[in-house]
Each structure stands twice: as C-alpha cells, then as structure tokens.
C-alpha cells in the first residue's frame, strides 16, 4: 500500500485535469501504457504489476471500462509475497464477476491459501470467496471454510471471515451447510465469547433460519442468551461498546434472527426475551449525542419489530404505539422517519388502528416536513390508515398537499387520493368532487384509469348523473382547464348534458359552443371525444335545433378529410348517421351500465404492494390473511350496503365476461376485441375513443358483424383499459417510411421527428464497415426522460450503439455513434427501438436503420475487357441468376440508369450492343465475402416498360440472390414516392414497421375502425 509513487502521481494527474475530456485523455494514455507493458515486458516485476493493477482499479472506479489485464490481476493471487498477493485478491474481487473463467483458474490457488497455515493469506482468500465466490467455489471449498469457522486454534480474525464466507457459499449453493450436525455446531458457535465472531455467526444464522427455521430451533434460546448478555452488559469488552451501548449490531442481528422463528413456545425463554424487550422499550431516551441516539434507536426499532412479530399482549403493543407516537413528533429527523415507517408496519397488527388514528394530525403535519423522505413515509402511513371514518379528512389533506407537492410525488399522490376516494367515499357526489378536483389540480399526473373510473361510476349511478353533469359544466367556465378535464366534461355532458337542459347556460347549443371554444387548443386524441359529444348533443336536442345542426354538421364536414383516421372516421360516420333520424337515436342512446369489476386502480395499487420481499415482517404479513389495504375495506358499520357497490348489470354469469374479467385481473390483456394481440394497438388507435360507445355502435349498422349485445361489453372492455402509459400519443412530423427511403440513398438526414424530438443521422461507409452517428435533439424546454435506444440487429450485421443517456436536457442534442459491420449479404434491416417519456406520455418508435445492402456497395466502372471474361466465368445458378420481373414502375432508360447509380450499382455505358439493355457492376463488401465483384444486366422491352429481364451474378450464391432481390425491390416500389409504405419485401422477412403500427390482421377482421386505419 505504501511506496507506490506511480499510483500517487497518476492520481494527482487525474486531479489536475481541468475537464472530463482531459481526464479521458490521461486515462487512455495510462491504459495504453499498462497494456503495452503487459504485452511487451515478458517478466514484469511484481512491484510493477502491482502498481499497474492498482491503477486499473482506480480507473475502473472513475468509470472507465478496463477490459484487459484481468489475467495479470488473477495471476498476482499466486504471488508468494503479501503485497502482490493482496492486490491480486482485492482487484480480482472488484473487477471480475463470479462467472468469469479466470476465476475458475484461480480456484486451486485460493484453496491452497485457505488450507495453508498463513493466517493473513487465509484472510485474503476468504475475502475473495466471500465477495465473488460462485457455485464452483461453494462445491470445492465449503468443507474447508467450515473447518476454519469451528477451529479452536484459529484467530477470531480468520473465523469471523470464515463465517461470512460460508454465508456466501450457502447463498450460492444451499448444500454448503448440508452436513450432519451442522445445526448443533451452529448452536455451539452462538456460545462464542468473541463478539466479532459472534456477530458474523449471527449473520450466518439469519441467512440459515430464513431458509429453514425448523432445523435451527436449538439456536433460538441461544439468541435470547446473547440478548440477555448484552442487555446486562456482561462480558462486553470496551471495544465493542459503541457510545455506551453494548454492540448494537449484534443486538439487532440477534433480534432479526428471532423474527424468522414463527413463535417462541418455551415459556421461560419467552419470559426472558420479554424482559429484555421491556428493558429496551423503557430504557431508551432521546439524547443529545446523535451517534448514541442512532445506536440506541437502532436497537429500539428492532425490538419494536420483534414485539410486533411476537404478537405480544395488548399492553405491550399499546406501549409500542405510544412510543412511536412520541417518535413521530421528535426533532431528530431519522427517528421521525423510522417512527412513521414503523407505524405503517404496525397497521398490520390487529387492534392498534384506533390508537394510531389518535396521531392523525401529527402525521398530517409530517406531510409538510421539509424532508421528502419523511413526506413519503407520511403519505404511505396516511394511505394505510385511511378508512371510512377518516377518509374525508385524509383525502382532503392529500388534495391540498397536491398543489404544493414536488413533481416526483404528484403521480403517486393523485393515484393514492383517487383510490382512497373510491374505496371509502361516504357518498358518491363527494367521490366525483374529489376526482374532478384531482384532475383540475394535477391533470398531468392523473392517469387515464382515474378518469375512466369516474365515468364508469357516473354511468352506473343514475342519481349521480345530473350532479356530475352540472359539476362538469362548472369546470368548463374556468379560463384554462386541463385537457383531461375537458375529456371528462365533454364525455359527461354528451351523455347527461340533457339532464341540465332547464338550467341557465346549459342548453345543447350553449354546451356546444362552450366545448367548441376549447377545440382549437386540444390535442388529437381529444377531438374524437368532442365529436362524439357533439353528435350526442345533436341527438338530444328535442325539438331539433336547425341552427345547432348546421354548426355541428359544419364541424363534421371540416373533419371529414382530417389526416387522423380516428377523427375522420367519426366525422364521416356521425355526419351520415345524423341524417338518418331514428337510427341515429338508437346508435347514440345513453351508454349502458358497466358490469361491476375490480377497480383497475385498486388492482394497480395492489400490484405495487405485491413486490417480493423476504424480510421477516413481510413474510409474516403474507401469512396473515389481512394487510393494511384489506383491513381498511369499508365494512359498513350499520349494516347499510357499502357505498360504492354498483348494481351488476349485464352478464356477470356469462362465462365470456367472466373470462374476460379474469384475464383483465391478470394483466393488460384487455381489449375491445379478445383477439387483438397488442395492447399497444389499443392505445394507438382506440385509446382516445376507449370510453366511447359510439364507434362500436356506429359500426353495427354499417359493417354488421358485431352482435348487438356485444356492444356494451366491448365498450366496457375498453373503458378501463389498464394501459400503464399512453404510448405514441405524439403526432409525427413527416413520414417515417419516406425518411427512411431517402436515407437509403443518401448519408445524412432526418430519420424521425415528432413535436418533442428530432433524430438525425449521419453516416460514413468504408468497405464492410460503417459509422453512423445518431443525433437526438430535444426540441422542448423541458427534459425528455427515460430515453432508451435499443438496436435490434439482424443476423448479418454487427451493430454497436454507444449508450444513450437516460435524459436529454431541454434544447440539447446528444450524439450517439453506431458502429456497423456487415457480416454477410442480406437485405434485412436493423431496427432501432427508441422510446422516451415526455410528461407522462411514453413515446415509442421502431425505426429502421438505413444500413441497407447498397451501403456496402462501392461504385465500380468496368471496361468491356474487364467485364465480359468475368460475366462468362459465372456460368449459371446459383452464382448467376436470371428473372423476368413484371409490374416494374415504368422508367425511361436514363432514369433507370440514374436509379442504379444512386445505390452504387454503376452503369457501364456502351458495353451491351443492344441500346435497350443496361450493364452494371459494383463491389460488395462483407466480412464473409470480402470485397466481391457483382455484375448485372437488365434487358428492357421498349414496347412494355413494366417488364424486364434481369440477370445478376457474383462469386457468392447468397450475394447474387440478395442483390437480385434488392434491385427488384428498387424497381418495383417507388422509393421516393409520396405514398411509400413498407417496401414490398419479397420472400425475406418484412422489416419492422415504422411508428404508426398497422393493425394486426386479427384486429382488421373485426374492427371497422382498425380496418379503415389499415387501408389508409
């Protein structure tokens, strides 16, 4: 460790670097230096090796990948002298993972060090195994490590390491301790006097009992003994007394181990333990010294957990709650934090909820704590302790807090408020109020689930409808309202606006004009909802209002040719239907009620809480039938029906609907059409209309296949689609397919653009290698987050994309180089799976990378002396292939020549005697073929320009075929044309579609909307 001047010099060089770039240069220089030394100097002195390896570790910590020198590090392990051996062990355990091959090579050296008699070497070897030992190590070393642990001649220094090393081996392979009598040995180990060894052994015990507590029941009383010894401060050396407290770590570990035993049956052990616990609970005070405070409370909180686990008598429990009540109001923030956390856990214990409720106001105060960690805990606790009795207070507090909460908490906060409002609403109008306030205050953070749910309630509760409609109307008077609010209001007013007809300002035409005022500012997904509302308003106007009809028809007319399919379809259909009178009434009648189902919100919340967790308290929670959420369920106190039960309307016994709700309960497989495979599709195409009855109903008339009774069910299937995030709700700028085709022929340009981001590309090609740079520019003034770029490479390309940062700052551009290597000829295209989050919207695009076959071609012009011998040498299939191609886009010969030249297949003029023929040559580069000459001949028919005969030849059969197909694609499709879609892909797999995913065939068959979208 001492005397490594080189390392110190290097570190101070790094410190002196002015910027990251300089640092990188210095690091690269050093890495180059180390690499050369390792390579060239046959015999490195151990000192030099040691110095270099330490530098490697330092560079590794700075964040640079060190992908060489691992062998040197491993080889130092077998060095005879301590310093080299030490660095070998330390660096190996930092740089390698347990599956590294080099590690297997070292296994014998490591074993020799473990069984050898040099204790310092034993320590080093144990540390390595304890940090990165894998199954191999476990199988060959477990008995040796066990021996060290129980040996009486070893020093504690070695034995405590052996204990933790064995723990690692046990985790890698439970058989590591599967020997007769190990449980007894373990119990003996707990009699250890040395507190260091005892702490490690207790850690080992925790791991063992969490796996199988029965086998280690003999250890239970020993743990209690340890606690007694520490609590009485017997035989605790000074160095293990931490700020006056006898080894808090060991106390904590021993209590943790006890929490893995389900109960303590032996009465005397139980009594002894409770005495200790009582002493801890009573004897801990908040003192001035922070460290002492922390230590004593570490023990205290562990004691609280143990008390909860043991289901102590009520007296002790209320003592615990009282303590926690004290903690959540102390000055010391750590204790406040843990107080709140433990109170949340305490909710799982029966009979203490009422005592906890007494602290409600203090908990609400914590919601305003300056520390976000504490605010989060307070939110969790309020959420957990909420029930019918306090829901109103708590939810209103949450709503109030919503306006000041930081952005990172708002989504969680609004979800929790929505769930509590739904579960415990004392009356339904309050629920509607809460949700509308929620949308008003934090519209950006209110997921679709939340507003779908309120619509569902309103639809299912007639009493609620006029109230909801008038509330919705009120919000429309606000100057600026959130778009989600507009969606809910429009939907509710469309359905129930007519119930308000007699109130001032609520006639159909007034509702129309106030809604229509907002239309110019909304995004595309909202427009279809507004159109449906207009249609419904029109239908409800009795007697008909010709003035209103004129206005609404004008709107429909205007959107008849809208570029957005959904809008266009609705506009056209509503317009046609509204001319039909009575049929119109049927189709646009009020939505039927939704069948009752578990709230997707509550399901979401439960999913979140379901995360696997092996800690004792959670395990126990699973054993108990109740948890905080369930406990708090509104058990009606006075026998009245629970407030939010909704009458079951249709088909709860219908097996299909049951099956559907089951499938919903298990995930996102919910859709308008049970066959629709992709939830994406839903959010793409149907997301905006999911809540609507209209499209399904409209189509019954026109397209027939959907049975009348299928309609309501379908609609409800989509009404509460558990779409986590709406994807692809952005409008693209430009056509992706066109952009791709343009980039196939040139080397720089824009690959993708939407309102938030532009992705440009610049490429250089040399032989089979290509270097592309992706330029991702954030066009917004807020950052784009969760940015991910993943390359899905076809088999013939090797692609290496430098990592893309997770966040693109506002107005910033990031560059990401992409190295391409062509392995063999193929027309498949690599796809870039790109996604980012803007606000709550997840945008995902699958973009084809323009690393197409022609990029690996290099123009080559041949003379006839060069051409014909080669042409004749290629005798026939498979090296030379001929095909008559029909349906060719008619092109004049010079244009066709230009087209060939544009993808680097060079026309050699004058070689073919027939003026209607073209002869061309090029060189293709790939790893497998090397540089390979390709020749082609096109014979055109001046009488019929739509067909031609093509002959392609090269020295590689696959290349000949691929090139022929490639040229054919170019001749048949119109790469630069305005209506370009995915190129006709020939026999090979079609390239992945660009962003706007065409609907799958299954969806096409049944859904007219999707059908239309597909056609367009």
């Amino acid at each position: 460790m001492s005397g490594m001047r080189g390392l110190s010099v290097f570190i101070s060089d790094i410190r002196n670097c002015q910027n990251k770039e300089a640092e990188r240069l210095r690091v690269d220089k050093e890495l180059g230096n180390i690499r050369t030394c390792f390579k060239n100097e046959k015999v490195l002195t151990p000192y030099k090796k040691k110095k270099y390896v330490w530098k490697m570790l330092y560079i590794h910590m700075l964040g640079y990948d060190v992908d060489f020198g691992h062998m040197e590090a491993v080889s130092l392990i077998s060095a005879p002298k301590y310093p080299e051996k030490q660095v070998g062990y330390i660096v190996t355990s930092c740089l390698l993972n347990e599956n590294h091959d080099f590690l297997r090579l070292a296994i014998n050296t490591v074993r020799n060090d473990i069984i050898g008699r040099n204790e310092t070497f034993q320590c080093l070897a144990l540390t390595l195994v304890g940090n990165i030992g894998g199954r191999d190590f476990s199988e060959s070393l477990a008995p040796d490590v066990q021996k060290l642990l129980i040996s009486s001649s070893c020093r504690p220094l070695v034995r405590k390491k052996a204990a933790l090393c064995l723990l690692r081996l046990f985790r890698k392979n439970p058989d590591a301790v599967n020997v007769d009598g190990w449980a007894d040995r373990m119990a003996q180990l707990l009699d250890e006097r040395d507190l260091g060894v005892l702490t490690s052994s207790t850690s080992l015990l925790v791991a063992l009992v969490s796996n199988n507590h029965e086998a280690y029941s003999s250890c239970l009383p020993k743990c209690v003994k340890i606690l007694e010894r520490l609590a009485r401060n017997q035989d605790v050396p000074q160095e293990y007394t931490y700020y006056g407290i006898p080894s808090p770590w060991l106390q904590v570990k021993a209590m943790r181990a006890l929490q893995y035993f389900p109960t303590i049956e032996d009465p005397s052990t139980r009594k002894a333990l409770f005495e200790v616990l009582q002493r801890i609970l009573m004897g801990t005070d908040v003192v001035k010294n922070v460290n002492k405070n922390n230590a004593s409370h570490a023990v205290l909180f562990e004691a609280l957990s143990l008390v909860m686990h043991l289901d102590a008598e009520k007296e002790m429990m209320s003592q615990c709650v009282a303590l926690l009540g004290k903690f959540i109001s102390v000055r010391e923030p750590n204790i406040r934090y843990l107080g709140l956390e433990n109170m949340t856990r305490m909710l799982m214990v029966t009979d203490v909820q009422d005592i906890i409720k007494k602290h409600q106001s203090q908990i609400i105060t914590s919601l305003k704590d300056p520390d976000i960690s504490i605010r989060r805990r307070a939110l969790d606790l309020l959420y957990g302790m909420c029930d019918v009795s306090n829901a109103k207070d708590i939810v209103e507090e949450l709503l109030q807090y919503l306006s000041t909460a930081e952005f990172s908490m708002r989504e969680e906060l609004s979800l929790k408020a929505a769930i509590l409002a739904e579960k415990f609403a004392p009356d339904l109008s309050w629920y509607v109020d809460v949700i509308l306030q929620l949308i008003d205050k934090a519209g950006d953070f209110v997921s679709d689930d939340i507003w779908f749910r309120v619509v569902q309630f309103v639809t299912n509760n007639e009493d609620l409808q006029p109230y909801a409609a008038s509330k919705a109307r009120e919000y429309l008077d606000k100057i600026a309202i959130h778009e989600t609010m507009l969606k809910v209001s429009a939907y509710i007013l469309g359905e129930y606006g007519h119930l308000l007809a007699r109130q001032p300002g609520c006639s159909a035409s007034e509702l129309f004009s106030i809604l229509h005022e907002k239309l110019p500012t909304v995004s595309t997904p909202t427009i279809p909802i507004l159109l449906s509302t207009y249609a419904k308003l029109l239908m409800h106007t009795q007697p008909p209002d010709p003035e209103l009809q004129k206005k609404i028809w004008a709107v429909f007319k205007k959107y008849e040719s809208c570029i957005d399919v959904e809008i266009q379809q609705r506009a056209v259909e509503y317009f046609e239907l509204s001319k039909k009178g009575a049929a119109f009434m049927d189709v646009l009648a009020e939505m039927p009620k939704f069948p009752e189902r578990q709230s997707s919100l509550i399901r979401k919340a439960e999913d979140v809480e379901d995360t696997a967790d092996q800690s004792a308290i959670k395990l126990r929670a699973q054993q108990q039938p109740s948890n905080a959420l369930v406990l708090a369920d509104p058990q009606p106190v006075d026998g009245a029906p629970p407030p939010l039960k909704v009458p079951i309307v249709s088909g709860s016994t219908n097996p299909e609907s049951v099956a559907r709700s089951v499938s919903q309960a298990y995930g996102t497989l919910s859709s308008i059409d049970p066959q629709t495979p992709s939830p994406d599709l839903l959010s793409d195409l149907l997301g905006p209309l999911a809540i609507e009855a209209a499209p399904g109903a409209v189509s019954t008339e026109q397209h027939g296949p959907i049975g009348a009774e299928g309609v309501p069910e379908e609609v409800d299937g989509s009404a509460i689609v558990p779409v986590e995030e709406q994807t692809n709700s952005v409008e693209l700028i430009g056509n992706i397919a066109e952009r791709f085709h343009a980039l196939c022929l040139k080397d720089s340009g824009v690959l993708y653009e939407d309102p938030h981001i532009q992705i440009g590309i610049k490429a250089e090609w040399r032989g089979q290698h290509g270097r592309l740079v992706l330029f991702m520019g954030n066009k917004n003034t807020s950052p784009l987050t969760s940015v991910q770029a993943l390359i899905l490479p076809p088999a013939h390309l090797k692609l290496d994309l430098s990592p893309v940062p997770d966040t693109i700052p506002p107005r910033a551009q990031v560059q990401s180089p992409l190295e391409v290597m062509n392995i063999r000829p193929s027309r498949d295209v690599a796809v870039l799976d790109f996604s980012y989050k803007f606000g709550t919207n997840m945008v995902n695009a699958k973009l084809r990378i323009p690393a197409t076959l022609n990029k690996f071609l290099q123009p080559l012009q041949l003379t006839s002396e060069e051409f014909f011998p080669q042409w004749r040498a290629l005798s026939g299939p498979p090296l030379k292939l001929q095909e008559v191609v029909r349906g060719v886009r008619p092109l004049a010969l010079p244009e066709m020549a230009n087209l060939f030249n544009s993808f680097h297949v060079t026309i050699c003029p004058g070689l073919d005697p027939n003026p209607n023929n073209l002869v061309a040559s090029t060189t293709f580069y790939s790893e497998s073929t090397g540089a390979m000459l390709c020749l082609a001949r096109i014979e055109t028919d001046p009488a019929d320009r739509t067909q031609l005969r093509m002959t392609v030849g090269s020295g590689d059969p696959a290349l000949t075929f691929e090139l022929k197909e490639f040229i054919k694609e170019q001749l048949i499709t119109i790469p630069m044309g305005s209506r370009a879609l995915v190129p006709a892909a020939g026999p090979g797999p079609a390239p992945a579609p660009p962003v706007a995913q065409p609907p799958s065939p299954a969806a096409l068959a049944d859904d007219p909307g999707a059908l239309l979208a597909g056609l367009l």
């Binding site: 460790m1 001492s2 490594m4 390392l7 101070s12 410190r15 570790l57 910590m61 964040g63 640079y64 990948d65 005879p80 002298k81 301590y82 310093p83 030490q86 330390i90 930092c94 993972n97 540390t127 304890g130 940090n131 220094l157 933790l164 090393c165 723990l167 690692r168 260091g196 702490t199 490690s200 969490s210 160095e239 931490y242 080894s247 808090p248 770590w249 060991l250 904590v252 943790r256 460290n291 922390n294 230590a295 409370h297 570490a298 909180f301 562990e302 923030p333 750590n334 406040r336 843990l338 300056p370 520390d371 976000i372 960690s373 989060r376 995360t611 696997a612 967790d613 092996q614 990592p803």
Partner: protein, 166 residues
Amino acid sequence: MIKAVMMMNTQGKPRLAKFYDYTPVEKQQELIRGVFSVLCSRPENVSNFLEIDSLFGPDSRLVYKHYATLYFVLVFDGSENELAMLDLIQVLVETLDKCFSNVCELDIVFNYSKMHAVLDEIVFGGQVLETSSAEVMKAVEEISKLEAASNSISLVPKSVSGWRGR
C-alpha cells in the same frame, strides 16, 4: 445485505465505490450519478434516509452521511436495520480518522489502496464483518506491517520471505 458502499465528494466525484453484487462499470457510474443527483439536492438537517427504489430496485434502502466535502453512502436491502447501517458509516469514518489522524478528502484520494483494506475489514461480501474500530485498526496495522516487512526484505531470497510470512 449491503448492496454497495460509495464515497463521493460534494462535486459528485467518486472516491471509493464497492458493489457487492456484480455490477458492470457503466451501471456503477449510472448509480453513483443517480445517487449523487439526489444527495446534492438535499438540505442540511433532514433525515439520513433516501427512497432509492427507482435506482436499485424494490426493497432497497439508502443511508448516507455528509462529512465536510464527502458523502458516505450505504445501499442495502430490507434485511438490515437502517440505523445500524448509519452507525456503520460512523464506524468507518472513525476508523479512517484513526488511520489518518483527522481524515480529509485528500487522504482518501491518495490512499486509495488503504481505503480498500479498511473497507474489507468492515464489510465482507455485503455483510457486516467488524463493528469495533479498534479491531479494524488492529487488522489494518497488521497488514501495513506485513507490507513494510515485505518491502524491506525484498532483496532477501524468497524462502526467507516465505518463512517470515508464516
């Protein structure tokens, strides 16, 4: 289990990082940056706990302590006691203080290898190995002595150094 030990200065420069589950270097840097970006925005006199699920996955906890220009960070799972982890940071710092008599950031920067030796005596494979800084000091001094001895006799034939090592 302790998942990671990190030390970084108040500018976010890592000074020591050790992950007890294998973590590739890019991921390590991402985590260090992520932790720092949360830490640097925290005011004084708040709790030493951070919600860190978004970086380290569910059931992970983080405690940190801020000393002068350095943050000491421990990331661990639900099987450890939070305050005990906080105490462990204190033990680590007290030990370093004894090692370097009044430790400062520069000591940590330039004694990179010694830092590893100290840490390895306190945390072992993600478990608490030793909590007594006196014991840790004993172990570390022993290592230093061995090194010094080995340096001073580096010209003596191998067999002798092997003998000394016993």
